[in-house]
Every structure is written in structure tokens, then in C-alpha cells.
């Protein structure tokens, strides 16, 4: 049994079927990426894992536990964090307050929290300088960093990331991906959704390609990066 096991997922929104018979798995310690074009169902897959969307069929098993039976707000306590599409800022709250809220489930553990804040701020020095700035006034790149930093403060064992590179300048994309590799090396398993297949395949161990709600290809990231169909469809030839 894998660390995360998604089996035969089907999700419909009214008449639209967003996912049909989608299966994938993630092993502990891996970076796995789901790549695919707009509307392929990547976001839907992540939202199903963290209980924001209920599937009509299928199973989601994490560390042997059926996540579909867990309420959305208890998923974090089960060990899965989610950096949502569009960053999901609490815009009226400061950087620090955004991060504090992510520690809700372990707010009693003051001593450990202090260490975790120090560790996360050392990963994101730009955020450390902006602790008391309202998150709505951060730049797009800073907001994306805050979204990742916030998920780190929840201390999951598996982190889902929905297009962390969206809307960022190339240099910032590089920085974010470098930090993701760092986070993975420090022991967090990553499931990364990306349209930027180029960067995603560079850091991932394995990849799945989604097309209109189906998994059409899977394999090691290195092999997929060489595949001619992938190069044509997602890597600009």
C-alpha cells in the first residue's frame, strides 16, 4: 500500500464530469507531479483529496486511512496540507497571522511552534521582513511564498501544491522550485500540480499526465520529459 493511494476517482459537477476513473499513487519521500492543460482536472483531484469536493466514485487512502471519511477541517490533523490554487490568502490578516492560523491544530505546543516559525522564516527571508504586512498587499510571488510557508506551519507529512508557479516571473519560479526541493529533502512528500511541465518534471521523481479527466500517461519524470508527445503538448516541442 502506497503512502497516498487514489483509486478510480470520479468527480462530477452537475452535467460535467471533471475526473473519470483516475488512479495515482504517491510514495513516502517522493515528489510526484500531475501535469495537464487547462481544465484537465488537476485542481479537482487535489480538492477531492482534502475533502473540498466529494467524489461520486473512488477511494482516497492516506497512510492506510480512508480520507473520504474525514471532514475537510480534520484533514490537516491527518497529515495532509494543501496550497490551494490562487494562493488562498486571508487578505486582511498579516503574514504572521496567516501563518499562525495554520497552526490551529497544534496551537498548544508553544515551544515547538517557536522553532517551526524560525525554520520557515529562514526558508523565506522575504516573509520574515514582512511579518506584520497585510497579506493582500504582498506581491504575487510573496503571496505564493506565504501560501507555501503557511502549509509548512501546519506540519503535514504530505503537501499538495496547486500551481505554485502561476503568474510568477521566471526567476521567482526558480526560487519557489528550489525551496520545494528543499522542503522535500527535509522529509515532506510533495504532490505537485503544474501547467509548467518543464519545471515540474525537472524536480519530480514521477509524473502523471491528465487530459480531460483521464490519466493518459505516467512514468518517471525523466522518461516523460524525453517523450515526444509530452514535448510536443507541454514543453513547447
Amino acid at each position: 500500500m502506497s503512502f497516498l493511494e487514489v483509486e478510480n476517482l470520479e468527480v462530477t459537477y452537475g452535467a460535467i464530469t471533471a475526473l473519470r476513473d483516475v488512479s495515482f499513487s504517491v510514495e513516502q519521500g517522493e515528489i510526484v507531479t500531475l501535469v495537464g492543460a487547462n481544465g484537465a482536472g488537476k485542481t479537482t483531484a487535489l480538492r477531492t483529496i482534502t475533502g473540498m469536493v466529494a467524489p461520486s466514485k473512488g477511494r482516497v487512502i492516506f497512510e492506510g486511512k480512508d480520507l473520504l471519511k474525514v471532514k475537510a477541517h480534520n484533514i490537516v490533523a491527518s497529515g495532509v496540507t494543501h496550497v490551494p490554487e490562487g494562493r488562498g490568502m486571508f487578505g486582511n490578516l498579516t503574514v504572521m497571522e496567516n501563518m499562525e492560523l495554520a497552526t490551529w491544530t497544534r496551537r498548544k505546543d508553544k515551544g515547538q511552534l517557536k522553532k517551526d516559525f524560525d525554520r520557515v522564516f529562514s526558508l523565506f527571508p522575504r516573509l520574515a521582513e514582512r511579518k506584520s504586512q497585510k497579506s493582500a498587499t504582498l506581491s504575487g510571488g510573496e503571496q505564493q511564498m506565504l501560501a507555501v510557508a503557511r502549509a509548512l506551519m501546519s506540519k503535514g507529512r504530505l503537501m499538495l501544491l496547486d500551481e505554485p508557479s502561476m503568474g510568477l516571473a521566471p526567476i521567482l519560479v526558480k526560487e519557489i522550485f528550489r525551496i520545494l526541493v528543499d522542503i522535500n529533502r527535509q522529509g515532506t512528500t510533495l504532490l505537485l500540480v503544474e501547467q509548467n511541465a518543464h519545471m515540474a518534471l525537472k524536480i519530480a521523481h514521477r509524473a502523471y499526465v491528465l487530459e480531460t479527466g483521464h490519466v493518459v500517461m505516467q512514468g518517471s519524470a525523466q522518461e516523460l520529459a524525453k517523450d515526444s508527445r509530452i514535448r510536443e503538448a507541454y514543453l513547447g516541442g
Partner: protein
């Protein structure tokens, strides 16, 4: 001059009451986007809780107040659980109608079970007068103002500094992401209704002591005024409720001092309309900008 000080104290007293109740409207609106029209009736229920606790259990002021706050919190939480939560995803109009229904229910249920007559509120304080710069002040007036101010400061602290307060502010930004942080929206909503209702109960008891009669319909006019205060200051904003409450208190007292007293309600509504025409989001409200 002494007349002016007298009116100033009256205005502070009235403004405190409006502000205490307006906080409940504004907090619920901030978290759920709902105008809880039953909130004025929770103020009434709080006054009745205080009445029965003082008369039947013969408790003194502080325990009466604390127990009534607790009971009102339970009532507010129960109303949300039974009447509003099942409609959380329903069209907003359904929620508004339900809130009006709950309001009518509380008024009429109270009248049916306890009778519609006015009851004199028990003396929880030995009222004493003393002079202040030529004006006459009572210890009750001071009590009302001080208790209100202390609760307002306490609430501000809770909302700014505690985790539940931060969660309350976060809800209006992004409900869905709240769950991703491991926070249950229901928990935040319960805390909001509980705190707002306890503040309204405090106002109910203070009004009961000052007036000193209570009846099942006492929440209607006061509830509307507090709602106006919340909108005036900028609904959804804690400081807006405070500013709106005190402005309304001052306007009413000074309008009544200068004009025949029947004008005062009309003036309150006229001010609301003028402010909203000039600043649709209320005095402290920021213009609505959607960041993409």
C-alpha cells in the same frame, strides 16, 4: 454647561448600549454575511434572563450578569444551529426571511408564555446620585458606560490577538481555506454567535436596570437602531459598530434636546440614509475592491 455635560453622559450611555448590540450584528455579518434580524430579540431575551435570575435565584448584579450572558450565548448558538446552519448554502433571501421569522418567533413566544405586560426590573444596584461639574450623575450611568467600555476593549483584544479572533477575521476573506488550515467554520460561527449574544444580553440587563421596565417587544426598536449603528459605522467592522453606536447615541440625545422628542427616530434613519448615499460602505468601510 452642566446641561451639556448631562446630555453628554446620556449620549454616552445610549451610545454604549447601541454599540454593544451593534457588535453582534456586525460580527455575524462579518463571518456569515447574514443580517441576524433576531439579534434585537436576543437583547430582549437577555433582559428576561437577567430578570428571572435576579427575581427567582436572588443573585446579585455580577452573577446575574454572567449567568444571563451565558444563557443568551446558548440561545444564540442554538438559533444558529437550528435555523441558520441548514440554510448556509441556500439563497441569501431565504436566510433573511428565516432571520425575520426567528425574530417574530422569539417575540411572540415570549409574549405567549410570559405575557405582554411590562415588568419592572429588579433593583440590582442601589442607585446613588452625585454631582459632577454641576450635572447630576448616577452610579448606574457610570456602571453602564464602564461595563460597556470594558467589554468592548475585551472584544477588541479577542478579535485582534486570539486564535479564534483571527479565525473570525479570516472567515470573511476565505471560508474554504479556513478548513485547509484545520479550522472548522462551525466552531468559528458558534463563537461568533455566542460572543455577540452575550454582549446583547449585557445590554439588555443594563437597559432593564436603567429604564427600569422590560417587555417582549423591547428588542424591536433598539435592535433596529443598533443595526443602523452597525451599518453607519461600516457593517462587518468591529470599530465601525463602536463608532456607529456612539454617533447614533449622540445624535439622538442632542436631537431630542433641540427638537420635539418624536423627531429623534426619524433623524436616526435620515442620518443613515445620508451617510449611505455619501459612503455606501459606512463611515469606516473601505470601498469594495476586488483584487484579481
Amino acid at each position: 454647561m452642566s446641561y451639556f455635560i448631562q446630555q453628554l453622559l446620556n449620549a454616552l450611555q445610549l451610545g454604549s448600549i447601541y454599540a454593544l448590540i451593534a457588535l453582534g450584528y456586525t460580527m455575524v455579518y462579518g463571518v456569515l454575511g447574514l443580517i441576524n434580524f433576531a439579534h434585537g430579540d436576543i437583547f430582549m431575551a437577555g433582559a428576561f434572563f437577567g430578570f428571572f435570575i435576579a427575581v427567582m435565584l436572588k443573585l446579585s448584579l455580577v452573577p446575574t450578569l454572567l449567568l444571563a450572558m451565558f444563557l443568551a450565548a446558548v440561545l444564540g448558538i442554538a438559533i444558529e444551529r437550528v435555523a441558520y446552519r441548514p440554510l448556509r448554502k441556500a439563497p441569501r433571501m431565504s436566510l433573511i426571511i428565516t432571520a425575520l421569522g426567528v425574530s417574530l418567533f422569539l417575540e411572540n413566544f415570549t409574549r405567549a408564555t410570559l405575557g405582554g405586560q411590562q415588568r419592572s426590573f429588579p433593583k440590582l444596584l442601589n442607585v446613588q446620585e452625585f454631582a459632577l461639574g454641576g450635572a447630576t450623575v448616577t452610579n448606574l450611568q457610570i456602571l453602564i458606560i464602564v461595563v460597556s467600555l470594558v467589554l468592548m476593549l475585551l472584544l477588541r483584544y479577542v478579535v485582534q490577538k486570539t486564535m479564534i479572533g483571527k479565525a473570525m477575521r479570516a472567515v470573511s476573506d476565505n471560508k474554504e481555506v479556513l478548513a485547509l488550515m484545520g479550522i472548522s467554520l462551525d466552531t468559528v460561527v458558534m463563537a461568533t454567535f455566542g460572543i455577540g449574544s452575550a454582549l446583547a444580553a449585557t445590554a439588555g440587563i443594563l437597559v432593564g436596570m436603567a429604564y427600569p421596565v422590560i417587555d417582549p417587544y423591547m428588542g424591536i426598536a433598539v435592535g433596529w437602531k443598533a443595526f443602523i449603528a452597525a451599518v453607519l459605522g461600516g457593517i462587518g467592522l468591529i470599530d465601525g459598530a463602536l463608532v456607529g453606536g456612539f454617533i447614533l447615541g449622540f445624535v439622538e440625545i442632542f436631537a431630542a434636546a433641540l427638537l420635539p422628542s418624536t423627531y429623534r427616530d426619524g433623524i436616526a434613519f435620515a442620518i443613515l440614509i445620508i451617510v449611505l448615499l455619501l459612503k455606501p460602505t459606512g463611515l469606516l468601510g473601505r470601498p469594495v475592491v476586488k483584487k484579481v
